[in-house]
Subunit: 241 residues, 2 copies
DNA sequence: CAACGAAATATCGTATACAATTTTTGAGCA
DNA sequence: TGCTCAAAAATTGTATACGATATTTCGTTG
């Protein structure tokens, strides 16, 4: 089970705008599952099926799916149903461009107001991330790696930016599921440690520039060539026989 | 009636993530009404009442209200219902801080790729804004003033930023309804014309800095002192008798 | 045997009914 | 008059039923 203290779903209600209840629970559960890559992009989320799994009626499930659709994790097609979203190459670029603009500004804010308790908490988070990697639980490691960013936003105590970051992190998770090309997912934690150093020194400028480099680095770890550039054209595929 | 060609609701489905249907129509209608300050912050949006107005069942109305809740225009309280959102002073600051970061970057992008047809369209938009002011239709003028910003985002052709700008503009409208202190709402259009000059020259740097100044100027037009500073304390109110 | 098309099935869209909760009302009392 | 509390009314939360649309199946035909 995901450790609630280190998961980002505890504040989800602030960005999901759903009142507490079963719809929110289903929403959180699906959210976690998608972030851990247990549900792959494109997978169909049938209302009946989801409802049966959680023991809820379609009314409730629909509310949850619509909430996830609003945050970009699910796409709903009229009269066809809900699917785990499949961000296009274009959207993948846009998500990381937005992160490169917003997250450094958020890191700057966080450096100016972080408390000792929060520093401790973030180190514990890194430790959990490290542990998940050690255990070979990639899904959890990825999810924790993302929620590290949302926790920075929480430190900045800026609801509006925090909401944006949460949404961007979620979509990044889908982008990574679709387009990640690097094998060394572990290198991430190095950047996170560097950011922690800057935060601990309350060095806002350093925090901002480290975060910016980190996002750009992540962006460069994606294979965002268009399909035709990736040799998946029909003619080439047929020649392989 | 709002001119559809100049309203920002035509692209709403992209950010609302609601499939076409009556729910989206209700959503759009309420959205416009809130942006035109026909519905004031804090107003209760009863499901039955809204449903009767639009001739739809509560099921559909609920979907619309939840969509609006997610975009921050409506707040839903468990077992109490939906209300037009009432942003706090803190949130008001945050919304304009976010705009000051994002919109200048968007203006820069827009300057790099704006077409002649889009320039023409934007000038027509400014003309409509001017006309609304001349007619004394404040609600429409305010709404058009906001949608000018979302149209810039559309020019930039960046879905992710456009979605954020749309959401921020909507919330700004609520903030203005609650906290606007300046009487000269017309001065806005001067900034918009200056931005158009920069866009027409494809001067990305100028567009960025003009937009940043414009947002900061708007922010400074708000009275965001906390309640106790505004002389609305209980003791002072009682002394007025 | 592949292509087409119609019936059968499955899934979503919407309305409505009932349960749970909140809000209002007003009777009783100090 | 003003307060308390319980009953009534109103409103939201959820389940279910039915109609509309999409998908699949399968028999027919060229």
């Amino acid at each position: 089970m995901t450790n609630a203290a280190l998961s980002d779903s505890s504040h989800l209600h602030e960005v999901i705008a759903l009142p507490p209840g079963r719809a929110l629970e289903i929403c959180r559960s699906l959210h976690s599952a998608i972030l851990e890559h247990k549900l792959v992009p494109g997978l169909k989320l049938s209302e009946d099926e989801v409802g049966e799994i959680y023991g809820a009626s379609r009314t409730v499930v629909r509310a949850a799916l619509q909430a996830l659709a609003h945050s970009g994790l699910v796409s709903i097609e009229k009269n066809r149903g809900a699917f785990v979203a499949k961000p296009s190459v274009q959207e993948a670029h846009e998500v990381f461009q937005a992160r490169a603009l917003i997250e450094p500004a958020v890191a700057r804010l966080a450096a100016d107001m972080i408390t000792d308790a929060q520093i401790k908490r973030l180190y514990a988070h890194l430790e959990a991330e490290h542990q998940a990697l050690h255990d070979g639980d990639m899904g959890k490691a990825l999810s924790l790696s993302g929620s590290f960013h949302t926790e920075i936003a929480d430190v900045a105590d800026h609801r509006v930016f925090a909401g944006m970051v949460r949404s961007l992190i979620s979509r990044s998770s889908l982008v990574i599921a679709l387009y990640w090309k690097r094998s060394d997912t572990a290198c991430e934690s190095h950047s996170h440690h560097a950011l922690m150093d800057a935060l601990e020194k309350r060095d806002a400028g350093a925090a901002e520039s480290i975060q910016k480099s980190h996002i750009i680095d992540l962006h460069s770890g994606l294979d965002l060539r268009s399909k035709s550039d990736r040799g998946l054209s029909l003619s080439q595929a047929l020649q392989d026989d």
